[in-house]
Amino acid sequence: MANFIGVFLRSLEYGSFYALSALSIILVYKTSYTTNFAQATLGMFNTFLVATLVMRQGWSLYAAIPIGIVSAVILGVLIDIVIIRRASKAGPVGKQIITLGLISVFLGLTPIFFGVDNLSLPRFISSGTLTIMGTPFSYNALFNILFGIFIMLTMFATIQKTKIGLAIRTTASNETTARIMGVPTKTVTMAAWAVAIVLSLISGLMTAPYSSVSLTFMNDVQITAFLATVVGGFATFHGPVIAAYGISVLLNIFQVYMPSGTIWGKPLLYAVLLLIMYFKPYGIFGKQRLKKV
């Protein structure tokens, strides 16, 4: 039992990382109609910045994080203004390939700015462990779970309570008409990119202490986040988030409790997800978009 609790809690923690990344992907998708393949790379870049300040310049983590957030916001704004806005003719697939270009650009820039070596990053809460039903669990892990949930609830509340949610949905659905309705779609898109990159950074800052800050350290998180977005459905914000936690829990259960689980657990889970997708092709929480003729 203790074992299971441990597996479950750890899954929740990683679920937070996936959920934040999924939210980042959804936010861009909903406003720019673009699958942002560069989500992980942009998160990586800003995490590198924070890690460099901490490890090379000797800053405290808490002093470095605001700089990272500012950088994420600036990047988001720049990417929107310099690239995405001008790509209206490129169509959705074209824009996706632009994000692919962004991957190349930032993979190229990172070593130039931060050197080729992998870095490490301290945890938010450097030490302390509590025991939950016989399972050791660090304060940091608890913080990650709670903080992740806090961020997401704040976002949901903002989206629900204000017109922002509607503005986001109309921007995605038909930008020109949204503007005729008075929706400042450019601001919406720009803000979405900025927030999305900040979310990626937070996901990166949470993940990095458990692995290392390398060019590819968030790729895994991104693939799981992609899965979560389609399993949960692009229609809602909460769907992908719930799916992210669900996938994380299932993945660990498959891997721990199945024979040869660490080898075949993941492909098996993928097959199961494919099956779920087959029966819920617009995501568990999504509805089929009707096209009436």
């Binding site: 503005a167 008409t177 309705m181 978009r289």
Partner: protein
């Protein structure tokens, strides 16, 4: 009735790439007027409205709204200053519900009270929208979508209302109703610019009309005068006989 010009279009030219869709047109609209834009398919009527709402930027010429330059503003700023449009092809948000579509129409309205009033007003004009308020807009019938598009444009208490073929796809009874609604709104002081194929009926409620022909204004005048202009009737409007 006609006091101040509320909209002044001067030497307006619009290009789509190298295609010149409007060639230096001049239109003046006075406050509270209903102005009709008529003309054959592809004459440039929609282009004129799209330029007014800022979706297309003119390559030449100016547009003044209450004496202020409008043509450099972004569409959302133009909307905020009180110009509202029911665009060609309805352009409703298909995956939003009817109610959400209307809500977005009132995006610039801050007051909850006015919002509520406007909902009531639109539902009064189009009771079917109230019945359907939770239906996903893309599944509405063609006419219902048209009502939604018009209703949405009314949601933000516009000073100037731009209507692009509002009667398209509406049943005869409703066509009449729409024109009556336009009349009512105009009486309340809203200025209306309306594009219609159905020239005869439109001229009945319009104060003034312009006829566009391949990007230029070929005729203009008081609506009742144009109604009796036989050359016009034949050339662009189809034979207008009652």
């Amino acid at each position: 009735m006609s006091k101040e010009p509320i909209l002044e279009i001067k030497d307006l030219e619009v290009h789509y790439g190298p295609i010149r869709a409007l060639k230096a047109i001049n239109i003046t609209v006075y406050e509270g007027q209903v102005v009709a834009l008529l003309g054959a398919n592809g004459a440039g009527k929609t282009t004129t409205l799209r330029t007014l709402s800022g979706v297309i930027k003119p390559s030449n010429g100016t547009i003044l709204f209450k004496g202020e330059r409008l043509d450099k503003l972004a569409p959302e700023s133009i909307t905020s200053s009180g110009i509202s449009q029911s665009p060609e092809g309805r352009q409703i948000f298909g995956d939003l519900t009817v109610e959400e579509n209307l809500k977005i129409g009132a995006y610039i309205i801050k007051s909850k009270k006015i919002l509520k009033e406007n909902f009531e007003k639109v539902y009064r004009y189009f009771p079917v929208l109230r019945e359907r308020k939770n239906q996903v807009a893309s599944t509405l019938s063609g006419g219902e979508q048209q009502m939604l598009a018009i209703g949405r444009a009314l949601m933000n208490n516009p000073k100037v209302l731009l209507l692009d073929e509002p009667s398209l796809g509406l049943a005869p009874l409703l066509v009449k109703e729409i024109l009556e609604i336009v009349n009512t709104i105009a009486k309340d002081g809203v200025t209306v610019v309306i594009v219609e194929q159905n020239a005869a009926q439109t001229l009945k409620i319009a104060d003034y009309a312009y006829v566009l022909e391949v990007g230029s204004i070929s005729k203009e005048g008081e609506a009742h005068e144009l109604m009796n202009d036989s050359s016009l009737a034949e050339a662009y409007l189809g034979t207008v006989t009652n």
